[in-house]
């Protein structure tokens, strides 16, 4: 059992070294590739067409359409008022 434990611990140490090594190698390669990629496409590329922004844009359109309606309604009301007060 003790012996077995030693073997298991040795395997665990092995896993720790290899595992952390591969994790760091993997993610370090990724760092360099991201930098490379960004330097190739990132700077020239247009800023993202922010998909989340689309609904906002629509909503704004909605709002401004509404604003226009409000303004139109007010113009009409004020016009009417002027007529009445003439």
């Amino acid at each position: 059992m003790e012996n077995n434990l030693g073997a298991l611990l040795f395997e665990a140490a092995n896993l720790l070294l290899i595992g952390m090594g591969v994790v760091f190698i993997f993610l370090t390669i990724l760092i360099f590739l991201i930098k490379l990629m960004s330097s190739l496409v990132g700077k020239n590329a247009p800023t993202p067409a922010a998909p989340v922004a689309t609904p906002n844009i629509n909503r704004n359109t909605g709002k401004s359409a509404q604003d226009k309606k409000v303004v139109a309604a007010i113009s009409a009301a004020v016009h009417q008022y002027r007529q009445d007060n003439k």
Binding site: A12, L16, G19, T28
Partner: protein, 377 residues
């Protein structure tokens, strides 16, 4: 009267073993944590409910022909459910903060030390009578330190199906406990000046970079560590669907209805592994203890790596963000933000912590791939 006897013989009261009552209480305890304490309710509620159902005598939810039997064998035995969840999580994840500052990947790497260090703990527990963890068991337990639910379930289903219930419960519970576990460690390893450091605003990231990123991750993964590609690949598929802009309807479904359906089923199936025989053992206590250790070590190593990077960068990096490297998205990043605000009320670290946070997801998927490649069940 015969019918009455048959009926009595089929009541729960006449058939309960006390262990089943305890497990049903455990199930209700999980429901309490989910509902009243808001501990990862999306998973812990179905897990708790599944635990109650599976321990009802006579009903046979987890016997061949029972509902949970089908759900477990179709979804977890095959690995399909965790992979679909991973695709959905990929479709919900924005890698912008990481692409803007790729060095954050080092923090996501450092925090995985929690996983591999816990291997020793699991093996050393074998010194205590009653524990007999194999290397496969130890690996499945250690992945709790990855702070990533579907990764833990996927690995446990491959390496130690008997421990799956306890491992999943530990993983989600500790993810919910991040706001309690992490701050003391973060504060112990940093001084107030370090915690006050304000970081530079991140540059905007173009859509093209966001599209190429998941493909790049996929390529590195398939070249270096094909065993990690089920997890990493489905994650990248989800992320690609999110960012490419041409399949929004698929991305939306992956992030919503599909992941919701699979979450209900996955939770019930995990709960079905919370049977008395599998859970009411001393090993469960060991798993809970080791999970806490793994979380602690992961947090500490993330913070220490961030301290090192702070030194090397001339104080431009706030060491707190290292804690987000364990993943537990987005809880860990929020905790970093909160602790940062305590030190400096104008220091908003949330966006900076998102980089290591999503890096931690990749890191633990890679770690899981290594364990799958080197450890056999």
């Amino acid at each position: 009267m015969e019918g009455l006897m048959t009926l009595w013989a089929s009541t729960g009261i006449a058939n309960f073993h006390y262990q089943q009552l305890i497990m049903i209480a455990v199930g209700f305890g999980l429901l309490y944590l989910a509902i009243a304490k808001k501990f990862e309710p999306l998973l812990l509620l179905p897990i708790g409910f599944g635990a109650v159902l599976t321990n009802i005598p006579v009903a046979g939810f987890s016997d061949p022909g029972g509902l949970l039997y089908y759900v477990y064998h179709i979804g977890i035995d095959t690995g399909v459910f965790p992979l679909l969840i991973f695709m959905g999580v990929g479709a919900m994840t924005d890698f912008g903060a990481l692409i803007a500052n790729p060095k954050m990947l080092l923090l996501g790497a450092a925090a995985q030390t929690g996983i591999f260090a816990t291997l020793f703990g699991a093996i050393l527990l074998n010194l205590i009578p009653g524990f007999e963890f194999t290397l496969a068991d130890a690996s499945a337990i250690a992945i709790i330190g990855g702070a990533d639910g579907p990764t833990a379930i996927f690995l446990a289903s491959r390496l130690a199906p008997d421990l799956l219930g306890a491992i999943a419960v530990a993983a989600y519970s500790y993810m919910a406990l991040v706001p309690i576990i992490q701050p003391p460690i973060m504060k112990a390893l940093t001084n107030k000046e370090e915690r006050k450091i304000v970081m530079e605003q991140l540059r905007p990231v173009s859509q093209r970079e966001k599209i190429i990123f998941p493909l790049m991750v996929l390529v590195i993964s398939l070249l270096l560590l094909p065993e990690a590609t089920p997890l990493v690949g489905m994650f990248c598929l989800g992320n690609l669907m999110r960012e490419c802009g041409v399949v929004d309807r698929l991305s939306k479904t992956a992030q919503n209805e599909l992941i919701n359906i699979v979450t209900i089923a996955l939770g019930l199936a995990v709960g079905s592994k919370l049977s008395a025989e599998a859970f009411l053992t001393v090993e469960t206590l060991g798993i809970l203890a080791l999970g806490a250790v793994a979380f602690g070590i992961g947090t500490a190593c993330g913070v220490l790596m961030a301290k090192l990077m702070c030194k090397l960068s001339g104080g431009k990096i706030n060491p707190l963000i290292g804690a987000a490297g364990v993943s537990a998205v987005p809880m860990a990043a929020r905790v970093v933000n909160k602790v940062g605000l305590e030190a400096n009320p104008h220091n908003f670290l949330l966006m900076h912590a998102m980089g290591p946070n999503v890096a931690g997801v990749l890191g633990s998927a890679v770690a899981a791939g290594i364990l799958l490649a080197l450890v056999s069940p």
